[in-house]
Every structure is written in structure tokens, then in C-alpha cells.
């Protein structure tokens, strides 16, 4: 049966064996028909992954083969999308990209030259050493890099990063998280740029000479009772004795600590058939383990990726640049105190508040947002203190609350209340209470109303946190794109100082 290629996806024969897709002679994606597709006339239709779609316009050669490349199922020139230009899956600098095993678009080792691959491995080795000597945890090479080293003696062609794990001594998830915080501090002190992905895993950012930044994942592994957990999302049976004491494994001339029994680790990760290459492999993690890891370690950055995508992508242009009507409503009500825009987005209002020299801060949980505001402030030559605030992370809220208690500000939040989950919303009230009680600043809110964010619900939450609603209006308004929305609420609230509260 023939393969057909269209804008929709690939029509392939039904099968359980992985297929490999190349565009213009470069690997881009791997799929398993019966797992990834749906029945269609003439076979199984496997839709293009969402991350590839923006690149699928132009003319080029598409080739579909089996995993070994021996059997060619399709090899032809095609026109996708507008059919204009060259079909190529590349980043802004022209580097070839492919879909990795968790569905992200990344640059694979097949598209990385030897010198850069060497930088990645040397950087990974430096991370292992820093983790041991400065963060006090013994890390081992794991996942794709371990699989490549054991099975093929080299990096896997379709892999795109290196992964390290450390086996925690702790059996309580709370202690594992605390340990991960300590590791972050130690690695930052060593000069690493660190991104926290959950309470148990961070990414070390390794700048490469080709302009790219490689991510080295540092995952916690730990036992709770008899069950072994290893981030990303793995859980099951693997005794400590399969990991420690470490063995040593060589990869392109670099030596790394590895689990004591690498084969047992690889069977735990990839199943009993790990020796057979399957570039389309996807994890089949036990749902109960994922549920536990989600509950213990995650929840503070659920929507972060979506927001960063907005601020880094073309849709940002749809957000107006001038001040919002709400900012113009607020400004005459501001005393001389500085103002902090919470959930500042593109910074349109913070930059406007700062235009006449008013001390202004802008915080957001998305690094994409912070970069946009910094760039625009530089261009406009305006002073805006930009910082990250993650309302889902208590430490972040507490440290900002403490800072603001000592340096009083007004708090300004437009369309933030309607974006926060209940836990983050609770922390907004905590922040307001900490920040506004000592200095007499006000909280200014604008939000679209809904059953969970009705004026009554928000008023009750403010009052429960010790605040007083001084002003509340409802009516027609605008969303973040300044498009009309029917039900918008504006609130001005104050938090009486502790002394006056006690005197009442």
C-alpha cells in the first residue's frame, strides 16, 4: 500500500512499527501509525504534529522509511501549504529542527556538528562535577544519552539534549523539593543559568558556540516506600542497588557516571525491547505515578508555556501598545507611591505609568513577558524594574511581599484575576496583604467576570484577606487585546495597617 502526503498529514498503512519522516534529506519526525493515527479511507491518517505545522509550507522532497531506513515507503517532491518557497524545518538561524520524543521541536544530534556535540558533552560533564562538588548530589547520565552510549556507543541521532538524574536520599517528596531548591542555589552560584520545571527538575542552560542554548535536564529520582520515581514522569520498580554504586560509561571520549546496572535502568525506562531502535518511542507511564508526581511537585507553571508562546510569537502584535482604558482610569487615583504592575504582560501599562518618571515595577511569571518589557523599556528609555513573580510558588510571593512591605507600592493588575487558578489567586491576596498593610498603597483590579470571578466572589476574597473594597464598578470593558467584552469589574481596595485593625 502506498503512502500519501497532504497538508493534513500522512496516509500510511496500518502498522505498529515506527516510521521515519525526512524533509529535504533531514530527519524531522517519527511516528507509529496505529498509535498516532486514525482510520481513514485507504489506511491510517497520522496528522502532522502541531509544532511542525508552521513550517509546512513550500516545495520539497519528503521521504518516509522504516526505522532502519532500509524500506522506503515514500520518496517524492511535494508542495504543502502555499507551495511557495523551500520546504524546510529550521529555526530563525537556519538550524535544522526535528520533533523530539516529548513532542517539542528541537535540534537533534544528527543535525549538530562534532565540535558542538563535544561542547554539549563537556558541558554535561561539568554539570555532573558541579552537582557533586557544590550541590552535594551524585548525578548519573540517563535517558537518551545513556541509551545511546550502551546500545550504540554514541549519541542517538534523533536525540536533542542530555539528561542527568540524581538519586535522592529522601523518601518524602517535601524533602526532595527542598533539596532541589538547594541544588538550584548552588548551581546558580556556580554561574549556571537555571530554569525550574517542577519541584524536582531543573534545566541548566548551556550556551553553545553555534548560538544555540542546550538544555541539560537535572531530574530528581527517589523512592517513596517501595516505589521508584524518576522525573520526568517515570515510576515503578527499580531498587537502589540497580543505581548505586555507579558504573562508568564513555560517550565520544567523555566519561560519565552511569547507573550500576545500566541495562536494568534502560529496561525500566524504555521497556524490555530497548535494544531495538524505535525513534517514535513514547513513554507509557503508570497513571497513578503521574498523578502522584503532579500532586507532589507540579502546578505552578501549568500555563507558563502558553503565555510565553504568546509573548514570543506573532500574536503579541495584536496587543495594543498604548495605555489601556483601565490604566487611564487608575492613574488619577494614584498617590505618590510607586506602582507595581502585576501580571504585566507586554508592559503596555507599566511603561505608560513610567513615562513621567513615576517609579514603576512590572512583574509577570512568563520570562517571555519580562524580555518584551525590558526591550521596550530600553527602546523608550523608561525606567521599569522588571522581575519574575510566580504566584503559584509561595516562596516567590513571600519574597516579593517582604520586599514590598519595606518599599510600599500600589499594586495594579489588569486581567490577572481572571487568568489565575484558585491557588494562585489566594497568593495574590497574600501578596496584597503583605505589600499594602504597612504603606497604605492600593490594589487596583480589572477583570472579566465569571461565576468564579464575580464581583461578589472577589469582594468576599479581598475582605477575607483583611482588605476593604473602596470602589467597585461593573459594566462593558475591553479584554487584553482591547476587544469589547460585556462584563468587566473594576475594584480599588485597601488593606488597613495592622495597628488600626487592632484598635477597632
Amino acid at each position: 500500500m502506498a503512502v500519501a502526503v497532504s497538508d493534513e498529514g500522512l496516509l500510511v498503512p496500518p502498522g505498529r512499527q515506527p516510521l521515519v519522516v525526512e524533509i529535504g534529506g533531514h530527519y524531522v519526525w517519527s511516528l507509529t501509525p496505529l498509535r498516532d493515527g486514525r482510520p481513514a479511507a485507504g489506511g491510517v491518517l497520522v496528522p502532522w504534529p502541531g509544532v511542525l505545522r508552521p513550517h509546512l509550507s513550500g516545495r520539497g522532497r519528503i521521504r518516509v522509511t522504516d526505522a532502519t531506513g532500509a524500506a522506503v515507503l515514500y520518496d517524492d517532491e511535494v508542495a504543502l501549504g502555499t507551495g511557495e518557497g523551500v520546504l524546510a524545518v529550521v529555526d530563525g538561524s537556519g538550524h535544522r529542527l526535528s520533533v523530539d520524543k516529548v513532542g517539542h521541536l528541537a535540534r537533534s544530534f544528527a543535525a549538530t556538528d562534532e565540535a558542538v556535540r563535544d561542547e554539549i558533552l563537556a558541558g554535561t560533564r561539568r554539570a555532573v562535577d558541579d552537582l557533586r562538588e557544590h550541590a552535594g548530589v551524585a548525578a548519573y547520565l540517563n535517558y537518551g544519552a545513556l541509551l545511546g552510549a550502551v546500545r550504540e556507543g554514541r549519541m542517538l541521532a534523533h536525540d536533542s539534549d542530555t539528561d542527568l538524574c540524581y538519586l535522592s536520599e529522601h523518601g518524602s517528596p517535601a524533602d526532595v523539593v527542598t533539596e532541589s531548591y538547594r541544588i538550584t542555589r548552588a548551581m546558580r552560584a556556580r554561574g549556571w543559568r537555571v530554569l525550574r520545571m517542577s519541584g524536582g527538575d531543573v534545566k541548566l542552560l548551556l550556551p553553545l558556540s553555534d548560538g544555540r542554548v542546550c538544555h541539560i535536564d537535572v531530574f530528581a529520582a527517589f523512592h517513596v516506600g517501595e516505589t521508584f520515581f524518576q522525573l520526568g514522569n517515570r515510576s515503578g520498580d527499580l531498587p537502589r542497588s540497580a543505581i548505586e554504586p555507579f558504573s562508568t560509561i564513555a560517550l565520544h571520549g567523555h566519561e560519565f557516571p552511569a547507573p550500576r546496572d545500566p541495562e536494568a535502568m534502560l529496561a525500566f525506562l524504555y521497556g524490555p525491547h530497548w535494544r531495538t531502535p524505535d525513534p517514535s518511542f513514547k513513554y507509557a507511564d503508570p497513571a497513578s505515578g503521574v498523578r502522584r508526581l503532579d500532586g507532589w511537585l507540579r502546578g505552578f507553571r501549568t500555563d507558563m508555556g502558553r503565555w510565553t508562546e504568546l509573548y514570543n510569537g506573532p500574536r503579541r502584535a495584536a496587543i495594543p501598545r498604548g495605555p489601556s482604558p483601565f490604566a487611564q482610569w487608575v492613574e488619577p487615583q494614584l498617590s505618590d507611591l510607586p506602582v507595581l504592575d502585576v501580571g504585566a504582560g507586554t508592559g503596555r501599562d507599566a511603561l505608560w505609568f513610567a513615562r513621567s518618571g513615576r517609579r514603576t515595577g512590572a512583574v509577570d511569571f512568563s520570562r517571555g513577558s519580562l524580555n518584551v518589557i525590558r526591550r521596550r523599556a530600553r527602546r523608550l528609555r523608561r525606567e521599569v524594574a522588571v522581575d519574575q513573580l510566580i504566584l503559584g510558588e509561595l516562596r516567590s510571593t513571600l519574597v516579593h511581599g517582604t520586599r514590598l512591605a519595606r518599599d510600599p507600592h500600589h499594586l495594579y493588575a489588569r486581567h490577572l484575576v481572571d487568568c489565575l487558578d484558585p491557588a494562585a489567586l489566594e497568593q495574590l491576596w497574600l501578596l496584597a496583604r503583605m505589600a499594602l498593610r504597612p504603606g497604605g498603597g492600593r490594589l487596583f483590579l480589572e477583570f472579566s467576570t465569571s461565576p468564579t470571578t464575580s464581583p461578589e466572589v472577589i469582594r468576599a476574597a479581598i475582605e477575607a484577606a483583611g482588605g476593604i473594597v473602596e470602589r467597585l464598578t461593573t459594566g462593558r470593558g475591553e479584554d487584553m487585546f482591547d476587544l469589547p467584552v460585556p462584563d468587566v469589574c473594576r475594584i480599588r481596595a485597601a488593606w488597613p495597617a495592622p495597628d488600626s485593625e487592632e484598635l477597632r
Binding site: S172, P173, A174, V177, T184, G295, Q388, L398, V399
Partner: protein
Amino acid sequence: MTTTDLARRVRTRIRDRGTLRDRVRVLEAEVQENRQLNRRIAELTDVVAELLVPLEARDHARVDEVLDRFRTGL
């Protein structure tokens, strides 16, 4: 037992099973809420361990320095 009694017992059992399913759903949600306390405990432990001692010393310059270092290390 009459046929009517039997029918009533069967109906009750079916109804109880539905109730049990609902109850399990609620319990699962409650268990997940409790799991989330792990991160909360870790965050509080981290704040207390890293900040409380210098704050207690009431040395303002030192407090500023420690707060700043903690914030950049998050």
C-alpha cells in the same frame, strides 16, 4: 423475601454503587489536595531555613542582602 423486596434491594445496591463512585472521585480529589501540601511545606521550609536567621538578627543591611540573594536564587 418478596419480589418487591428483592427489587428494592437491587435498586438500593445500584444506587449505593453510584454513590461509591462519586465518593471515590471526591476522595481522589482530596488526596491530590493533600499531595500538593508537599510543595507548600518545602517552600516554607526553604524560606524559614534561608531567611529566618538573618531576619531575626534585625540587621537591615544584612536583611537586604539576604533577601536579594534569596530572590535571585529562586
